[in-house]
Symmetry: C2
Subunit: 194 residues, 2 copies
DNA sequence: GCGCAGTTGGCATTAACTGTCAGAAAAGCA
DNA sequence: TGCTTTTCTGACAGTTAATGCCAACTGCGC
């Protein structure tokens, strides 16, 4: 059951994120201080750090939930679907699930243009990868015996690399291109059979 | 010409790095302060920050030079070599060029086990990627007209993803496996023709 | 020896966090 | 409604990484 606290907290979180992203877009991430965000959002600095453990989490914060969704989607793909298609299905769900395209574009630009944010973003994605590897491993079936099997790790890492490449290109072109299409082109370039 | 300053500076840098890495290994990265490193290395905090712009650079510092080497190596591969082989050649040079395997193993573990270091490491690698993309683009020849060509970006990102997967696996097994071999297995899992 | 260029160390300052603790606000209960 | 307990908030002080500034120092050519 959702208490009053939970609800007002969610509203507060959204409001703070909006304030922060607006300020980041206006003056740049590095030149916006936590103190300023807290002031404009009408909250104490201390509370802000209680909501978001770090400044970076103001932008990359809700990735944990998305990771869960991705994992569940991939896991629930029927067994006859190939790993590549299963992973692709997972990303399609994520892309449509979360925000409006404009919002995604805004956040993508912010992340890609801010080194420290980009690094943090990839770090979180690495956590997704680690969680997906065993699932992919299971789908691949048993590989070489006695020596560790790098296939799952490699496939997952590659898919993420292509998603990243496609997203960056998409953001560079202001969202005028089709993201799923770009992803398919990336994967085709890597795997050959275009 | 190398002056006395340059030489003593290089010695100092090496000494500081050794001190820092030793302390990081002993007490963990986060629990080692700049003040302590400076004290043990017999240098002022201020100077330490002049040698290494950030705490992370104590570990990931010489990546800039490695990136240059990688770029040059890939660029100098003969034209008949495929992009995949050219990139592979670049990484082989890097792996053998720098440190002893033990040192690489120690640094790899430190980086993979420390989130903030991992993030910085990835950030630097992203710079390498950005520099390699035009080179790979040139090797691929002109692709689709009028629409941006995602191939180079995708290929470079994939190669890095496989290097990363292989390196992590290699570090997990204390360096007992062959890194180049792991890389080939990763790429084979992705590209099919094993 | 003498000045010059580059280097170093100390000091002050900023900004991201963290620990603590008293007090406010909500929840649960009579 | 009133009271207790739980949970959250804000203020304050403190830590750590990082930067700017300036004065003192060091090697080097003259």
């Amino acid at each position: 059951m959702t208490t009053l606290w939970d609800r007002s907290r969610q509203v507060a979180v959204q409001e703070i994120v909006d304030t922060a992203v607006r300020l980041f877009a206006e003056q740049g991430y590095e030149h916006t201080t936590i103190a300023q965000i807290a002031r404009e959002a009408g909250i104490s600095q201390r509370s802000l750090f209680r909501y978001f453990g770090t400044k970076e989490d103001l932008v990359c914060g809700d990735q944990a939930a998305l990771g869960e969704l991705l994992k569940r989607t991939v896991q629930q793909q029927p067994a006859e679907v190939s790993v590549w298609d299963a992973l692709r299905a997972g990303f399609e769900v994520i892309l449509t699930a979360n925000h409006t395209p404009e919002r995604v574009l805004e956040l993508s630009r912010l992340i890609f243009n801010t080194p420290s944010l980009h690094a943090r973003y990839i770090e979180k994605r690495l956590c997704w990868q680690a969680e997906l590897v065993p699932i992919v491993q299971a789908r691949l079936g048993s590989g070489p015996e006695s020596t560790p099997d790098p296939r799952a790790k490699a496939i997952v890492a590659t898919v993420f690399a292509c998603v990243d490449a496609a997203t960056e290109l998409w953001a560079d072109h202001d969202g005028f291109l089709d993201l799923a299409d770009l992803y398919d082109q990336c994967l085709a370039a890597v795997r050959g059979h275009s």
